[in-house]
């Protein structure tokens, strides 16, 4: 048995074990480097932010500096408002665009669309803010929640569009054929069979896009502006967590710094909750529309 030419020699085997262990070790270290920032972020947020987090933080408006207490209720609510508004027009447009790319567009048109979407994805977020400022803020002579949501929603469209396209392409052709062979109209086949099969993937793409924009500050600077009080209508400037964090973090006051950390912690938690919520929601919805 030991004569078999297929068995490694002892030296050979030792070398293999060594390289195997070495490469595994390098990969483990790389993996640790990848996930370490996440834990660092969570660690610092908890360490710095948890102490300033209390019930008041979620229920009260910001107080002037020096006055104890106060919270970011308006900013939390503002961020949620902005996200919902942005998604309300960013998601449908993005998803429909993705459907067009995956199911309808010709190669030539698609090439241009993809290129445009990729360029848009690369547009710095502050540029979005400036464009919306010119289009929605200057003519109406007021900063507003609408303008902020427009800037965020515009950023979502190319993101959602490309991820939607990618997951739709993954739906096997055999499902499309099976539906068409039943004499089903093409658009119904796409909506009920293809989109539903890919719903989880689309939802994931939407979450990724929302998580991306939830933390955006720059597009809101000249659009939503921020507000230390409740916004009474969507036509008024509105507070948002990232704006509030930004304003507090660059202030010279220690209690505002603590509040900024708490705000960052809440923003993280919000994004995390968003992820979990939509995943649960998209897991099993099985009923024919």
């Amino acid at each position: 048995m030991e004569e078999s030419p297929y068995l490694p020699t002892a030296a050979n085997a030792r070398w293999r074990d060594f390289t195997s262990a070495a490469v595994t070790g390098v990969l483990v270290v790389c993996a640790l480097f990848v996930i370490a920032p996440l834990f660092l972020v969570i660690y610092f947020l908890l360490k710095q932010g948890a102490s300033a987090l209390d019930w008041n933080f979620f229920t009260q408006l910001p107080r002037p500096t020096g006055v104890v207490g106060g919270g970011m209720a308006n900013a939390i609510w503002g961020t949620i408002t902005l996200l919902v508004l942005a998604a309300a027009f960013g998601v449908p447009l993005g998803v429909l665009g993705g459907i067009y790319l995956a199911e309808y567009g010709s190669d030539r048109v698609n090439g241009w669309l993809r290129f445009s979407a990729d360029v848009l994805n690369g547009v710095p977020s502050i540029v979005w803010g400036m464009v919306v400022y010119l289009v929605l803020v200057v003519p109406f002579k007021t900063f507003s929640a609408y303008a902020g949501a427009a800037a965020l929603g515009l950023m979502m469209i190319p993101l959602v569009m490309r991820t939607t396209e990618e997951v739709l392409i993954l739906v096997p052709q055999s499902y499309r054929e099976a539906a068409l062979a039943l004499g089903v109209a093409r658009w119904k086949m796409i909506m009920v069979i293809v989109v539903r099969t890919a719903l989880k993937g689309i939802a994931t793409g939407v979450i990724v896009a929302m998580a991306r924009i939830a933390g955006e500050t720059a597009p809101l600077l000249f659009t939503a502006l921020g507000n230390n009080f409740w916004a009474h209508s969507l036509k008024e400037p509105i507070a948002a967590l990232p704006l509030q964090i930004f304003a507090y973090a660059i202030s010279p006051y220690d209690d505002w710094h603590r509040q900024a950390w708490a705000g960052a912690l809440v923003l993280m938690a919000l994004i995390l909750a968003l992820n979990i919520l939509v995943r649960v929601f998209s897991r099993d919805r099985r009923h024919i529309s």
Partner: protein, 286 residues
């Protein structure tokens, strides 16, 4: 994308003959004493881009019979089948010539909708493909629902009827709300057959429906094909010559995009008239 060349209109004499012999489309045609023609195909050629996949095929497929299409891989038999309900149009760059009529009605023409044709000519695919997001019941009924049927009583009766016709009812009647994909491979294929039958087509095209199934599941589908013959016209593409011999009335042998021989299955398998078909059915090539 639309590649239909204007179909040659049926010759008047021909159309008249079909009109007298074929039952009106949509009624499904219950009796078939003499030879009712389901598909009347003349000088049919099809190209994928520059490559010609079918050459000058002229054939009349009988109604309420099972026609098997055999031939080696790449002979064009699947292409032929897919052209019968215009599924080939999903492949970009196809072009065709010739005339195809289904119960006297042209399949290709300026105002003919593929969607309408596919309602009358259903298709079962090689690999079972129940929709993964739907239950067994939803899979069967999806064609009806997406075509606007809302009546619960109709849906309920069609559900049972289709599953019984597909010989699946007894196995799934208590688990209709489980996912279609939870069934075994053979059951899934019968579910797909039930799904096709639910929209009440006149003709069922089957593209190697058993090639992914074990012998027991295959036997069930073959039995099923025998019962389907009473209500439907069945055209089945198969690689398995025993299957063609077992379950078909007519057999068409394709080779290199041409129809070599077409006739009674018994005759094709016992006394084929062309040397090429004889060599193929006796297993000497292909």
């Amino acid at each position: 994308m639309a590649t239909t060349s204007p179909a040659v209109a049926p010759k008047p004499a021909d159309a008249a003959r079909v009109a007298t012999s074929a039952p009106p489309a949509g009624l499904g045609g219950q009796q078939a004493e003499s030879e009712v023609v389901a598909f009347d195909i003349k000088n049919f050629s099809l190209w994928y881009g520059p490559r010609q996949a079918l050459q000058d095929v002229t054939i009349k497929l009988p109604a309420h019979k099972v026609t098997a299409i055999i031939g080696p891989s790449g002979c064009g038999k699947s292409t032929f089948l897919r052209a019968l309900n215009r599924m080939h149009e999903l492949t970009p760059g196809t072009r065709l010539e010739g005339s195809l009529h289904h119960f006297g009605q042209s399949l290709y023409g300026p105002n003919i909708q593929a969607q309408a044709i596919r309602r009358r000519i259903g298709m079962v695919f090689q690999k079972s493909n129940p929709f993964p997001t739907m239950s067994i019941a939803e899979n069967v009924l999806v064609g009806l629902r997406l075509n606007g049927v809302r009546d619960r009583a109709v849906l309920q009766s069609r559900l049972e009827e289709s599953l019984r016709m597909a010989a699946l009812w007894d196995e799934v009647k208590d688990t209709l709300n489980r996912p279609g994909t939870s069934l075994s491979g053979g059951q899934q294929q019968r579910l797909c057959i039930a799904r096709s039958l639910a929209v009440q087509p006149e003709t069922l095209l089957m593209d190697e429906p058993c090639s992914a199934l074990d012998p027991i599941a295959t036997a069930k589908i073959e039995d099923l094909i025998q019962t389907l013959r009473s209500k439907y016209t069945v055209v089945i593409v198969t690689h398995n010559m025993q299957q063609a011999a077992r379950c078909s009335d007519r057999t068409a042998f394709f080779y290199l995009g041409k129809l070599i021989e077409f006739g009674e299955t018994r005759k094709i398998f016992t006394t084929p008239s062309r040397p090429r078909s004889e060599a193929y059915v006796s297993g000497r090539f292909g």
